[in-house]
Amino acid sequence: MAPPNRTARVAVLGSSVQRSRSKKHAAGRARNAVLRRLILAMLVIAALALLTVSFRSPTSGVLHDVQGTGATALRPFQIAAGRVARPFRDAYGYFQGLAGAKSENTKLKRELRTVRAQLANNDAGALRAAELERLLHFEGSPSYPQDFRAVNTSVISFPNGPFGQQVGIAVGSSSGIGLNSTLVSADGLLGRVTNVSKSTAVATLITDPDSAVAAVDVKTGVRGIIKPGQGTTLILDRVSKEKKVRKGDVIVTQGTRDRRYPDLYPYGIPIGVVLNTGTSDIASFLTVQVQPFAQFDSLDSVAALVATKRTPKRP
């Protein structure tokens, strides 16, 4: 067998290989690689440092103030972007609405008849309740909506992914907004303010996994806790199996407070309507599915509530 007659072409990393560029160039490239990694390391360390400081004091401190100033500077751009997008959003909403307009019209007419009958009963009940409160010299907490000033504003940022259900609004502490101020839309409860700067604020929606709202069924008086459910629905949790909750019942905020959040959700803000109820032998509580009144996926104009009446303090 003849030996392979090959020229000695040295492997790429062999010692005798000639490189296309000079050693100086190779050294420059190595220096660039080091510099590149150094920049990455510095940026990662800076991000981790920011994250640590921000995590330790999310709603106060120098960094929070700087962030608030930055948010204020960015607000006009966000509002402008929202205005540019609004016609497209409206057009999409219009065509989407046309699809189910006929069936929805029939459903709404049916609901209107029911609501008219309820309104007459409610008016009579409200008249009697006002008289009784006067006779009993009843001193209550600020009640919605008469004891609250609505600060109307627009949403400037939306939940970014599944990790947090938070929206940014274009008003802040300079308009009287504080931590835990209630956020509503024309339809119903949206959430509460959880971070506030001078001219912007962030509100956590009631669809956030950590949200819990004390709520009551206005028809039966059954109380429970509103938590996020599957998809766009909510769940009225902690309702005893002996209690009766019917489909179509309206759920409103209960208005209770605790030591940590004295201003949390005034009484009577509409949350949603009961879609269905269910239970099982092993479950401790009823499963009450609630369809929220608020359209969380198309928020635009909202109102933050500022109490005009002093809230009684816990003893």
């Binding site: 920049i39 995590f55 930055g70 599944p162 700067s197």
Partner: protein, 174 residues
């Protein structure tokens, strides 16, 4: 990179970040949400390399966290790494490949989502992996739809480096 290019990168990322938090964060299709900022960062990193990718990611993340009053540094951390990694891909194997932007966007969408999930998990916050994975495929599809126009725009504004400008690997002679 020239000063003009730097200004262009800053403007592109700024506009993308504002559009993302103000417009695209509200667009939910089949449970997925497009991330124009991520697509823009991928395009910039592919055309301008790892250092610009990392710096751009850090800057864009800061903008998002500031605009949403979120935890500063969280988005920056993930976008910095994503920008660097895509930049390296652009400098080496992804150079001049037609599929590079599409492949990069698809892979980075997955890694970015998983990265955010991990950071939230490490911070002890709610990290709904189920919801994230359910929306992942639609998010990839939406991001891929945006890839072609965004990459074309960025390529028009940031002229790709000449081949001779790029570092060559070891060559055999003789």
């Amino acid at each position: 990179m020239s000063v003009v290019d730097s200004v262009k990168v800053v403007v592109l990322l700024f506009v993308a970040a504002i559009m993302q938090v103000s417009i695209f964060a509200q667009v939910h299709i089949l449970g997925g949400m497009p991330d124009v900022l991520l697509v823009m960062l991928v395009a910039v990193a592919l055309l301008r390399g790892s250092v610009v990718g990392a710096l751009g990611g850090f800057f864009a993340g800061l903008l998002v966290d500031t605009a949403t009053l979120g935890q500063l540094g969280l988005t920056s951390l993930v976008l910095t790494i994503a920008g660097y990694w895509i930049g390296r891909y652009g400098e080496t194997t992804g150079r001049d490949r037609f599929h590079a932007p599409f492949l990069s966007v698809a892979v980075v969408t997955i890694l970015y989502s998983v990265g955010l999930l991990l950071v939230h998990f490490v911070l002890g916050e709610r990290a709904p992996a189920g919801a994230m994975f359910r929306g992942l495929l639609p998010a990839i599809a939406l991001n891929l739809i945006f890839t072609a126009p965004v990459y074309a725009l960025v390529r028009r504004l940031l002229r790709p480096f000449d081949r001779s400008d790029l570092a060559t690997e070891v060559q055999l002679l003789g």
